[in-house]
C-alpha cells in the first residue's frame, strides 16, 4: 500500500514525512526522523517513556498513528531546551539527581512540563497523579518529585 504524506510541525519546525498506515507516531519519530529521544518502553501506553505533546495535549506517541499528526504541532524532548539553555525541569532533574539510568527521563520531562503549563503550583499529590502514567524503575520517584517541585518554584519566579 502506498505511504501517506504527512505535513506537520515538530518542535516549531515544519516537517514532512511519508509513513505506512500502521506506523505509530513513535515509530515515525524514532525510525523515520531519527528523533530517538522519545523511548519505547511498552508500546501499549503504560509506561510514558514516549510522552510527547500534540497541539499541547500530552499523549503517548506509541498510541498515536503517524498519519494522525498531519496538520498538528508535535512537541518532543528534543524541543524542550532552548538553544544551549536547558529548561528549568532539565536543570533540576540534573541538580536533584532525578535520574539514574535515564531511559524514562525524556518522558518525565515532557509530562512534567505539560503539568506545569496547566498548573504552575501543583501539590505533591497532584504531581504524583499527573506523573502516574510515567514509569520509573530506578528512583522510586522521590527525587523526580523533588526536581519537579523545585522547577515549578523556579518557573514561578520564587
Amino acid at each position: 500500500m502506498a505511504k501517506h504524506h504527512v505535513a506537520t510541525t515538530i518542535n516549531g519546525d515544519p516537517v514532512e514525512y511519508l509513513c505506512d498506515t500502521e506506523q505509530t507516531l513513535l515509530d515515525v519519530l524514532r525510525d523515520n526522523l531519527q528523533l530517538t529521544g522519545s523511548k519505547e518502553g511498552c508500546a501499549s501506553g503504560d509506561c510514558g517513556a514516549c510522552s510527547v505533546t500534540i497541539d499541547g495535549r500530552l499523549v503517548c506517541a506509541c498510541l498515536v498513528l503517524g498519519v494522525e499528526a498531519d496538520g498538528c504541532e508535535v512537541g518532543t524532548i528534543e524541543g524542550i531546551a532552548e538553544g544551549d539553555s536547558l529548561h528549568p525541569l532539565q536543570q533540576h532533574f540534573l541538580q536533584d539527581a532525578a535520574l539514574q539510568c535515564g531511559i524514562c527521563t525524556p518522558g518525565f520531562i515532557v509530562a512534567a512540563k505539560s503539568l506545569l503549563e496547566r498548573n504552575p503550583n501543583p501539590t505533591e499529590t497532584e504531581m504524583r497523579y499527573w506523573l502516574a502514567g510515567n514509569l520509573c524503575r530506578c528512583t522510586g520517584y522521590d527525587k523526580i518529585i523533588t526536581a519537579v517541585t523545585n522547577a515549578a518554584s523556579e518557573l514561578r519566579g520564587e
Binding site: G41, Q90, L94, A97, C101, I103, E124, A132, R137
Partner: protein, 764 residues
C-alpha cells in the same frame, strides 16, 4: 530526619573526613545527554542498510519441537535470513563462564534458541531478518513450527514430586549422597549451617515457625533488550548493545556463536535499567548469526511482552522459617528451608538465599537448606541481591512474630542478636567491621519510629544483608595538554557511576571534578572488566580508578622532578600540584603546568590499573514502613517509608540515596503488587505493564533515607557496595506493617487486596 538535615549530615561528614570531592554532589557528567534525549540507548543505534530482526517464540509451556519449516518465510520478498538452533554450535555441558555465579554455556545456548524442546511460553525457536519491520513480522508468521505439547509444571514443590513432568532427562540432583540414579527437576541441594539446631530449639523458651510463598517477579527495567550486530565477510562482528557488561556480551556471544573472542567487538550503549536482568545475553548471538547469514547489519529490539515472557525474572518459591529464642530475646536456633524456581534451566539464587537469611544475626545454631528446581518458566536472571529478598521475607517476618510473642520491641530483638565485627557468619566468614548495629540504632532514633500512627495504620521494620563483591576491573587515565583528565573504564553506567569514577579520580589527583571526564570504553579499547553487578562498580572499578590516578601522580612527580632536576622522592603531590621539598620558596608545578609541557619532559602522560579487587565490604540495611490498610477493599498503601543503610562512604550521596529509594520501591512492588500470572496451559497472562503493575508515582510517599557511614577497611575511601541491600528488607517490612495494621500475618506474596481482604475476613 528531613531531607535538608540529611544533606547537611553528608556535607558535615565530608568536612570531617578531610575529603575535598568525595561526598559532594556534582552534576553527573552524562546528565545533559540524558535530560535532552540525546543519549543513545540500545534501541537508538542505526546503521545504513540495517535489517530488522524478529524472534519467533514458543506458544507452549513445554513442547517437543517436531519440525521447523522456514521455506515460506525465506521465499517472502525482503527476507534476508532465518536462523534456528541448527545454525548455532552444539555446546557441551562442561563449558562454564566465570562471573558472579558460574554460567553454563550449554544452557545459555539452549535458552537463546531452543533445541529439541521448548521449555516455557516465549522460548525462542527461530529468528528472521528482513528489510522492514512489517516484512519481518509477516515472515515470522510464515515460519511453521510443529510442536508436540507436553505436560508442564510451574511450581517448585509440584516440580519436586516424583511424578512431575520432567524438563531435562539428564538432570541429576547435585549435593545428595548417594548420588541419585534417576533424573529429576531438582538440580541441586545446598546446605549451610553452624552448631546444632535441634539442641538450639531444645534450649528455646519460644519457637515461631511459618511457611512462606512468593511469586516470580521481573526486574522491570523500562528499556527493553536491544542490539545491533554487524558481521562482515572477514568474520568480525561489531555489536552495539545495552547490557550490564560489554565484555560479558562479547565473551558470552562469541562462545554461543562458536567464534574467537577477538572476532566480536562490543560497543556499550547507555543502559536503560538492568537490576541484574542484563547480566546475560538473549539477542546478541542471534543478531550476530542473522547478520552473518544476511551480510548486513541486523537490529533486534524486544517488545515488552517478550521481555516478560523470556527474560529476567527472579525466582518465586517457598520458604519455611523456624526460629527459637530465650525469654530475654537471645536467639538459640534458626532454620530455613527453601525451594526456588530456577525457570527452565538450573541456576536459581537459592544458594544466596540460604547464605543471607540469617547473616545479620549472631546465632550459635543455624541450618539453611535450599533446593534449586527447574520449572516451565523463563530461566531466571539476577535481580538485585539475587535470592536474598525471599529469604529475608521469611526470616524477618518470623522475627516480627517472635518479637510479638516475647513482648519485645522488634528493633530491640534485632539489636540483641545483631552480628558485629568478629561474628562468625553461618555461611562461612567472620565479619570484619560492619555497620548493622548502627543501622538499628539509627532506626530506633529516627523520628519515624516514634511518630504516631493513624487509624488502620501499622508500622513494620525489617533488615537485610548482602555480600557485595569486587572482581576483575580496569581503568585508564589520560592527561590532556590543558590539564583535563579522561578516566576510561569499561563498565556501563547504570545509575550514576561515571559521577563516582570522576569524583574518586579528582580526589586522588587533587583537582576539580569538572576537569575530569569519565568515559566508558568498548571491548577493543580497554582491558577486561567484569560486568556491572554484585554492587561492585563503585567499590572495585573505583579502586582501579584510584590506582590509575596513583600511577598518573607518580608520573607527574617524575616530570616535575625532571624540571627541577631533583630526585622524585623530593617531590610531593598535594592539592593537584607537585611541590619541590628541596626548594625554600615552596616551588610548585600544577597538574596543568606539567601537562602543558609533557612533550618536553618525556611525552604523553597516562596511567592505568588492572586489578582483581578484593576487600569488598558487606552491606546491611534496616527499613521502617508504615502501611494503611483499607478494611473495605484490602488495599495496602505505604504512607511513610525510611530506608537506613550502612553505605561505607557515600562517594556521591545523591546517587547513594537514589539506590536506597529505588531498591526500596522495587521491594514494595514485590510485596504488594507484582507477580507472574499463568493460565492453566502455562502461558503468561500478564506480560505487560498494565497487568504486571510496578509501583507508580501515585502509589508512594517520599522515601526517606539515612546513610550510615561505617567505612569499609578494604577501600581507601571506605566504599561499600550499596545497590543491592535496599531491595532485601522491604518485603518483610511491608508484611510486618500489614500485620500491625490489620492483625493478620501475610505469608504469601504479593499482599494483593483480595488476598488481604480474605485474610482479614478469615480472622474475624
Amino acid at each position: 530526619m528531613g531531607k535538608e538535615e540529611q544533606f547537611d549530615t553528608a556535607t558535615q561528614s565530608v568536612e570531617a573526613s578531610g575529603y575535598k570531592v568525595v561526598g559532594t554532589r556534582p552534576i553527573r557528567p552524562d546528565g545533559i545527554e540524558k535530560v535532552t534525549g540525546r543519549a543513545n540507548f540500545g534501541a537508538d543505534c542505526n546503521l545504513p542498510g540495517m535489517l530488522v530482526g524478529r524472534i519467533i517464540r514458543s506458544p507452549h509451556a513445554h513442547a517437543r519441537i517436531v519440525s521447523i519449516n522456514t521455506d515460506k518465510a525465506l521465499a517472502l520478498a525482503g527476507v534476508k535470513a532465518v536462523v534456528t538452533s541448527a545454525d548455532f554450535p552444539e555446546i557441551g555441558p562442561k563449558a562454564r563462564g566465570a562471573g558472579e555465579a558460574p554460567v553454563s554455556f550449554r544452557d545459555m545456548s539452549r535458552n537463546i534458541m531452543a533445541r529439541d524442546k521448548a521449555l516455557y511460553d516465549g522460548h525462542a525457536v527461530a529468528a528472521v531478518a528482513a528489510t522492514t519491520a512489517a516484512i519481518a513480522d509477516q515472515a515470522a508468521a510464515l515460519i511453521e513450527v510443529e510442536y508436540e505439547v507436553l505436560p508442564h509444571v510451574l511450581d517448585a514443590r509440584e516440580a519436586m514430586k516424583p511424578d512431575a513432568p520432567l524438563l531435562h532427562d539428564d538432570l541429576f540432583t547435585k549435593g545428595l549422597d548417594p548420588k541419585p540414579e534417576t533424573p529429576s527437576n531438582v538440580s541441586q541441594r545446598f546446605e549451610f549451617g553452624i552448631g546444632d539446631t535441634a539442641a538450639g530449639f531444645a534450649a528455646a523458651d519460644v519457637i515461631v515457625e511459618h511457611d512462606f510463598t512468593t511469586q516470580c517477579v521481573h526486574q522491570g527495567y523500562i528499556e527493553t533488550h536491544a542490539c545491533v550486530a554487524n558481521t562482515t565477510e572477514d568474520g568480525m562482528s561489531t555489536v552495539w548493545a545495552s547490557s550490564q557488561g560489554q565484555f560479558m556480551v562479547r565473551n558470552y556471544s562469541a562462545t554461543v556463536c562458536g567464534m574467537d573472542i577477538t572476532k566480536v567487538r562490543v560497543m556499550p550503549a547507555e543502559i536503560g535499567g538492568g537490576f541484574g536482568g542484563k547480566t546475560t545475553v538473549y539477542l546478541e548471538p542471534v543478531a550476530i548469526m542473522l547478520s552473518k547469514k544476511a551480510g548486513k547489519p541486523v537490529k533486534i529490539v524486544m517488545n515488552r511482552e517478550d521481555v516478560f515472557r523470556a527474560t529476567g525474572p527472579t525466582s518465586g518459591g517457598h520458604a519455611h522459617a523456624k526460629i527459637g529464642a530465650k525469654k530475654d530475646g537471645t536467639i538459640t536456633a534458626g532454620e530455613l528451608t527453601m525451594e526456588y524456581e530456577a525457570g527452565a534451566f538450573p541456576g536459581s539464587p537459592v544458594q544466596f538465599g540460604c547464605m543471607t537469611g540469617y547473616a545479620p544475626y549472631d546465632i550459635e545454631n543455624v541450618k539453611a537448606v535450599g533446593f534449586d528446581v527447574v520449572v516451565n518458566r523463563p530461566k531466571v536472571a539476577a535481580y538485585r541481591a539475587p535470592g536474598a529478598p525471599v529469604a529475608a521475607f521469611a526470616v524477618e517476618s518470623a522475627l516480627d512474630e517472635l518479637a510479638k510473642k516475647l513482648g519485645m520491641d522488634p528493633i530491640a530483638l534485632r539489636e540483641k542478636n545483631a552480628a558485629t565485627e568478629g561474628t562468625q557468619a553461618a555461611y562461612g566468614p567472620k565479619f570484619q567491621r560492619i555497620g548493622y548495629l548502627e543501622t538499628l540504632q539509627a532506626a530506633k532514633n529516627h523520628p519515624h519510629y516514634s511518630a504516631p500512627l493513624g487509624p488502620n495504620q501499622g508500622r513494620g521494620v525489617a533488615s537485610g544483608f548482602w555480600f557485595n563483591i569486587g572482581g576483575e576491573s580496569s581503568a585508564a587515565m589520560h592527561v590532556n595538554e590543558d590539564g583535563t583528565v579522561e578516566v576510561v573504564t569499561a563498565n556501563p553506567d547504570i545509575g550514576g557511576s561515571r559521577a563516582s569514577m570522576g569524583i574518586m579520580a579528582a580526589e586522588v589527583l587533587g583537582i576539580d571534578v569538572s576537569q575530569v571526564k569519565p568515559l566508558i570504553a568498548d571491548t577493543a579499547s580497554s582491558a577486561y572488566s567484569m560486568l556491572t553487578g554484585g554492587s561492585r562498580v563503585t567499590f572495585a572499578v573505583g579502586k582501579a580508578v584510584c590506582e590509575a590516578a596513583d600511577d598518573v601522580v607518580v608520573q607527574l612527580r617524575e616530570r616535575a622532578a625532571k624540571v627541577w632536576d631533583v630526585d622524585i622522592e623530593a617531590v610531593e603531590w598535594k592539592d593537584g600540584a607537585a611541590i619541590n621539598t628541596k626548594s625554600d620558596s615552596g616551588e610548585s608545578l600544577s597538574l596543568k603546568a606539567i601537562a602543558n609541557t609533557a612533550g618536553k619532559t618525556g611525552g604523553p602522560i597516562s596511567g592505568k590499573a588492572n586489578i582483581n579487587a578484593t576487600g569488598a565490604g558487606p552491606g546491611f540495611g534496616t527499613h521502617i514502613c508504615d502501611i494503611e490498610v483499607d478494611p473495605e477493599t484490602g488495599r495496602s498503601s505505604v504512607v511513610r517509608y525510611t530506608a537506613i543503610q550502612d553505605v561505607g562512604t557515600a562517594i556521591h550521596p545523591s546517587y547513594v540515596e537514589g539506590q536506597l529509594q529505588g531498591g526500596a520501591v522495587q521491594g514494595i512492588g514485590w510485596a504488594l503488587n507484582e507477580e507472574y500470572i499463568y493460565d492453566d496451559k502455562g502461558c503468561l497472562q500478564n506480560g505487560g505493564f498494565l497487568d504486571y503493575r510496578v509501583p507508580v508515582a501515585s502509589d508512594l510517599p517520599m522515601i526517606d533515607t539515612v546513610l550510615v557511614e561505617v567505612p569499609n577497611p578494604g577501600h581507601r575511601f571506605g566504599v561499600r557496595g550499596v545497590g543491592e541491600v535496599p531491595i532485601i528488607p522491604p518485603l518483610a517490612a511491608v508484611a510486618n506493617a500489614v500485620a500491625a495494621a490489620a492483625d493478620v500475618r501475610m505469608t504469601d506474596l504479593p499482599i494483593s487486596p483480595p488476598k488481604l481482604l480474605a485474610a482479614i475476613d478469615g480472622a474475624k
